[in-house]
Subunit: 435 residues, 2 copies
């Protein structure tokens, strides 16, 4: 395995052993923070409570509300004089979520990020352009420090100024970029409008993240720009980018388990989901001194991808982010998330760009009605033939949805452009049960 | 002397000795760059040409146009694989000015910047908020790396979002900020409007730069915000911030002569000006490997401040930036710059906010007519008495201008708000000679 760090080659056993020691150290460190001193004392937990990784379950969860309530100091586990960096979530107004880092924290974060970049083929002799905004947002400085750590010629282009971005990519033969998925699509389409083939740009690798996106969006970016796009996952509470990252296999994101313990729980019962089932990601830092966080509920939904990865790394893989736990729906006793429906729908080439999930009443029972536009390109034959094909498609979609959701929703195929378009963020779920 | 680096304590003799060795090394390094290989060969210069610091004069100047013509590669003195950072001047459209740094370059830049911050009283246990934009602009990452190097809790707030800026300054007891002078005034005025005394903010030190500003503007910032503001000078061609910086004495900016050779030349004759006279700043890098630059004509105007500084540092001091060499005017055989006139005018409390310099013909001879608004607060007495006072003021201003410019301009005192106001950048010079 060609990798930057020995830790990437660790076997499951080596990972588990290191995690146990690091978890004990982390609990000890966390006890220095006022919040955990109180919380862990109440739960009668200290480092010696943690005799196996299974004992992690004894530790209470930490939520975003806890972080907010602890603003600005309650999670600090070192004197403020040891802190060299503060980041904050953009979030809504009101109390921000703030994370403080020591120099060691910054170094280990830069190492993790450099490891991700090396894993997808970026080398020190390459030029790298960071097209994400800098400042308190961790996608700027987080990626920047990783690229510099790897030794790339790092161009801190920031967001915007597309013309200059493209000039630098060409003039400095930029091999890899960090870019928001929506900005990547925007740039590609703009170049095509200007009569330039975006595939001729020298960039051959894109790190994409910070926005949830589907596999279909990734493939469209890869096709449009003639590069390979790798999914980056992170959140400021866990440093930022560099928590989990896709390898060359592009089949799930390896969580760096030497630095984090990952759990996936049912957001209602708070119990672990079965392997491969969707649930809420929960992370525990293993290497952080300034602000260690135990069992942080991310509200991001994913699932473990089982089996061994062709890249050889045994660090567990998670699926791309499938939505937010706040989005969960329950129909006929089955929990599911809108992104699961989207995944099924967009796997059919005959399906168009727009769809909507309506929650309706059938008598006294809740039901899901999926309205989905069809792609006119697939229906150019005679009407009679079309009707047969459409009915078959409708049945196929309903069956695949049943496999995914464990109940059979109603599926309505509708004409292209017949569903309401929204300005900005699409409205995908409409609750009609109270009408 | 309480300082971060031994180099700050160097005597003149130690500075000169180090400069000679470093200049020889820099010439040798520069010869690896295609541009200098050609240019220095033509001028028959190599490291052995430099036998004393006086031999610097044999080296041709480098201009911004040279840098542009050499874009993107001609000034690179190391293989691109050694480069870890690229910065670019914002500048106008067209070819940008691009500077490339090795890891050593970035480290020595961070050291210089940390030294500036320590010099004005910032310590590792302090919180520091960087309120300048990040990205390709060197005021973001340049200051950031210095603050982190010093070990401050560095808040990469970036530009804008005033409400959050103020929240962080208060909640994290921010002792020092980096801020544009105009933004500092804006924030102060806004707080006052909201009924809050900006002097109650915990920030007690401001680094101000990136915009030329007068001593009067600095004093207004200090008074408004209840802090001490220190003038920061740098330009991306010489790394960025950290080239010259005010010490506690606030009487000129010390150029870090262990890292730069500074010259001041007459932009017309290209000869050194006499000590204390205004001219164009010219810098030579002494510690840069990626892109050494020899005798760079900055087009920024300043003058040496002679005598020893009370802080004890022997690194030469320059005055605040007095304008751009492109602004130079010639009247009656005397060269001068509009900023010289402004300095004289604003030193009179009776003078208002607006003034204009008109270039006129008196017969066949060029003359300067200074129209300046008076401050009505100073003229509340009876008319007759006023006239006497006004005539005396007019004579005093004319005399002080003569001392500064070496010729006597015409001075017109006009009523407040009678001169044309401009939207945006003020128009201070009007050439009426061709009317």
């Amino acid at each position: 395995m060609d990798c930057l760090h020995e830790e990437e080659k660790w076997t499951r056993d080596e990972i588990n052993k290191a995690q146990l020691v690091r978890l004990q150290n982390t609990v000890e460190q966390a006890l220095k923070a006022p919040y955990y001193a109180k919380k862990l004392k109440e739960a009668k937990i200290n480092a010696s409570t943690i005799k196996s990784l299974d004992d992690l379950k004894k530790i209470p969860f930490t939520t975003k509300d806890d972080l907010r309530a602890g603003y600005p100091d309650a999670f600090l586990a070192t004197p403020r004089s040891e802190i060299v960096r503060l980041h904050a979530s953009s979030g809504t107004t009101g109390t921000p979520t703030v994370i403080c880092h020591t120099q060691d924290d910054i170094n280990s974060w830069a190492d993790l990020m450099a490891r991700c970049m090396y894993m997808v083929g970026i080398r020190r002799e390459d030029s790298f352009q960071n097209m994400a905004g800098y400042g308190l947002f961790t996608g700027g400085l987080g990626i920047h420090y990783g690229a510099e750590r790897l030794g790339c010629m790092t161009i801190p282009a920031g967001a915007g100024n597309t013309r200059r971005q493209l000039k630098f990519i060409q003039d400095f033969k930029v091999k890899a970029v960090h870019i928001l998925p929506s900005y990547a699509l925007h740039i590609g389409e703009k170049l095509k409008e200007d009569g330039f083939d975006p595939r001729e740009l020298p960039a051959k690798i894109a790190l994409i993240g910070a926005e949830p996106h589907t596999e279909e969006a990734r493939q469209r970016i890869e096709h449009l720009l003639g590069l390979r796009a790798f999914n980056s996952y992170g959140l400021s509470e866990m440093n930022g980018p560099g928590v989990a990252f896709e390898c060359i296999a592009q089949n799930g994101l390896h969580v760096w388990e030497d630095a984090y313990i990952v759990e996936i729980i049912d957001p209602k019962t708070l119990e672990p989901v079965k392997d491969g089932e969707i649930g809420e990601l929960v992370f525990t830092t293993l290497c952080r001194k300034g602000m260690p966080i135990l069992r942080y509920r991310t509200r991001d939904l994913s699932r473990f991808i089982n089996g061994s990865c062709v890249c050889g790394r045994e660090h567990r893989r998670i699926d791309r982010i499938l939505g937010r736990s706040d989005d969960m729906l329950i129909i006929k006793g089955c929990n599911f998330y809108p992104m699961q429906v989207e995944q099924v729908l967009l796997s059919f080439p005959q399906v168009g760009q727009n769809y909507v999930l309506e929650l309706i009443k059938e008598g006294s029972i809740d039901q899901l009605q999926v309205k989905v536009e069809i792609n006119p390109a697939f229906f150019e034959e005679e009407k009679k033939e079309d009707m047969r094909v459409l009915h078959q498609l409708q049945r196929n979609i309903a069956e695949r949805l049943k496999d995914e959701l464990l109940f059979t929703p109603k599926v309505d195929l509708v004409e292209a452009n017949s569903l309401p378009k929204s300005e900005g963020k699409a409205i995908r779920v409409v609750d009609k049960r109270k009408d």
